[in-house]
Symmetry: C2
Subunit: 291 residues, 2 copies
C-alpha cells in the first residue's frame, strides 16, 4: 500500500453523505451553496522548509509560493480565490527581517488576485512551515471536478511542462483566469492542476474518472530545456490539465487568454492498455492502476 492509499484508507470514513459536499479528494473540497449554481471551494495547503524549499531560498518567494500553490488548486476547479488565512510555523531565533519578507511575498500575490488576507497566526516549529487556508467560489456555474472526464474526451494542457526548478517553481502564475473561463463556458469536463507532474496527475485524473488514456508524445509541450521525461516527472508545473468533449473543443479557438493550449491525447475506457513508451514516462502509474 502506498502512502496515498494508506491516507485514503484512513480518511475513507470522512466521505460525507451530505449532498451539499462534493469534491472531497479533489483539488479542493466543494460545498454546494443554496443557490444551486454557487459553490464554496476550500483548500488547505502547507509548504515546509527542506521539502518545498531550501533554507537559503528567498523568503519573499517562499511566501509567494505558499499562497500561489493554494490559488492553483482553486484555479483547477475553475474558481475565484477570495479569502486566505495564513499560519506561520517559525523556528526559534528566526530573523524578523526574513519573516517580514515572507509576509510581503504573501501580501503581494494576494493583492494581485484581490484576495483578502484574514489572519496571520504564528506558532513555534523546528522547521519553517507555512500553512495556507484558502476559500474560493464559483458563482453561477459549477466547479470542474477531476472525476468527471468522459471516454473520448480530448486531453489538453495549458503552457509548457518541465524545467520548473529553473524556470518557475517559485514564480509561476496560477492559471485562475484560464480555469475560470474553461469552467464558466462549461468547456472543461474534468480538470486538475499539475503539481506533481503530468506523470502522476494525469493518471490521478483518469483514475478518479474511472478511465484510461492515450497520449501523443510528440504533442507534449516541453518547456525550453526540458526533456520529455522531465516534462512528465519533474512536477511543480502548476499548469492546468483538462478534458474537453470533441464536440466542444472547437470553442477553445475563442480562448481569450494568451496562455498556450495544447491537445496531448484522448481519454479511453478503463480497459485501454497504456502504450509502453508512455508507461515508462509515468512514474508511480503502476501502483495507481492496480487499485
Amino acid at each position: 500500500m502506498t502512502e496515498e492509499e494508506f491516507i485514503e484508507s484512513l480518511t475513507a470514513g470522512w466521505k460525507s453523505k451530505d449532498p451539499r459536499l462534493i469534491g472531497v479528494g479533489d483539488d479542493c473540497a466543494v460545498v454546494k451553496g443554496g443557490a444551486g449554481e454557487d459553490s464554496l471551494l476550500l483548500k488547505a495547503d502547507a509548504v515546509v522548509e527542506g521539502v518545498h524549499f531550501l533554507r537559503t531560498a528567498d523568503p519573499f518567494l517562499i511566501g509567494r509560493k505558499a499562497l500561489a500553490r493554494a490559488i492553483s488548486d482553486i484555479a483547477a476547479m475553475g474558481g475565484e480565490p477570495l479569502y486566505a488565512l495564513v499560519t506561520l510555523g517559525l523556528p526559534s531565533g528566526f530573523q524578523p527581517v526574513r519573516m517580514q519578507k515572507i509576509y510581503k511575498g504573501i501580501t503581494a500575490l494576494a493583492k494581485e488576485w484581490n484576495i483578502a488576507l484574514l489572519g496571520g497566526e504564528t506558532t513555534r516549529t523546528r522547521d519553517l512551515v507555512l500553512s495556507v487556508s484558502l476559500v474560493g467560489e464559483t458563482t453561477g456555474y459549477d466547479p470542474v471536478l477531476r472525476s468527471t472526464a468522459q471516454e473520448g474526451d480530448e486531453i489538453w494542457v495549458t503552457g509548457s511542462l518541465g524545467n520548473t526548478q529553473k524556470l518557475k517553481h517559485f514564480t509561476f502564475e496560477p492559471r485562475v483566469n484560464e480555469g475560470q473561463w474553461l469552467a464558466e463556458k462549461k468547456i472543461a469536463t474534468a480538470m486538475i492542476d499539475l503539481s506533481d507532474g503530468l506523470g502522476i496527475d494525469l493518471p490521478r485524473l483518469a483514475r478518479a474518472s474511472g478511465l484510461s488514456f492515450e497520449l501523443e508524445l510528440e504533442k507534449i509541450p516541453c518547456a525550453k530545456g526540458a526533456s520529455l521525461k522531465e516534462a512528465f516527472q519533474e512536477g511543480e508545473d502548476y499548469e492546468l490539465l483538462f478534458t474537453v468533449s470533441p464536440e466542444k473543443s472547437g470553442l477553445l479557438k475563442k480562448f481569450p487568454i494568451k496562455t498556450s493550449l495544447q491537445k496531448i491525447g484522448v481519454m479511453r475506457k478503463k480497459s485501454f492498455k497504456i502504450s509502453e513508451p508512455v508507461k515508462e514516462l509515468l512514474h508511480g502509474y503502476d501502483h495507481l492502476q492496480k487499485r
Copy 2:
C-alpha cells in the same frame, strides 16, 4: 515590541476595506453573508509536537485536541462548526499505527459535533504538525466579536479555570452550545475563548474593546487543585469569557446548559487603573497596556 505586536505590524496591511469582512484578528475571521444575518466563520490553527504536546502523548488525543482547539474558536464567536480540512505534517518514519490513531481522534470529535471532514492531506516535516482549517457559520444572528464590550458590562466566565494540564488540556469539551446560546439570544456583547489563560485573554478582549476592567478576585472559579495564579496564568482552559450588559444579565438565569456560569467583574473605561493584586496576576498585561 513583542512578537504579537510585530506580527500585527506585518499584517496591518491585511485589514480589508471590504465591508463583508469583519473580525480580522478575532478568534475567527468573519465573512458577512449576503442574507445580512448569516456569517461565515473561518479558523486556521496548528498544533506542533514539542510546543502543544509531547512526542509521548496519546496520538488519539493529539488528533482530538487539534480539532477541539479550532472548534473552541468557532464557539467563541457563537458559531456552529461545519467543515474541516486537516493537513498532517509527518516526520519520516512516523508509525502508521500512530497516524491511524491521530485520524481516529479527529474523526471521533468531528462526529460528535457533526462536522464534515473534507480533506486530509499530508506533507513531510521534522516534527509532527497538525494543521486544521475549520469553517463555521452563524445563521440568523451575528457572531460575537471580542471588540464590542461596553463600559459597565459584566464579565462572566463558563466552567472553572486552572489545573488544565492535569484535568482537561487534552479532553476539554469546546463550549459550542454555550457560545451559540449566548450569541443567538444576543446576550453576550463580547466573547473570547480562554486559550492563553484569563491573565492574557481578558486584557486582549479589553484592549480590542478599548476598555479596562475591574475584577472580584474571590469570585474567580478556580478548578479543583488550582491556585488563583494558575487560574490566571496556566492557559488551555478553553472556557468562554464573555461580557453582558447589566440589563441583560438576569437572562443568564435561563441558561439551559449544565455548564456553570460565574460573574467575575465589570468592564471599565480605558483610563481605569487595574488594582495591584490583579496586575500581579496578569502576566503579559503591561506590554499590552502600553500600546
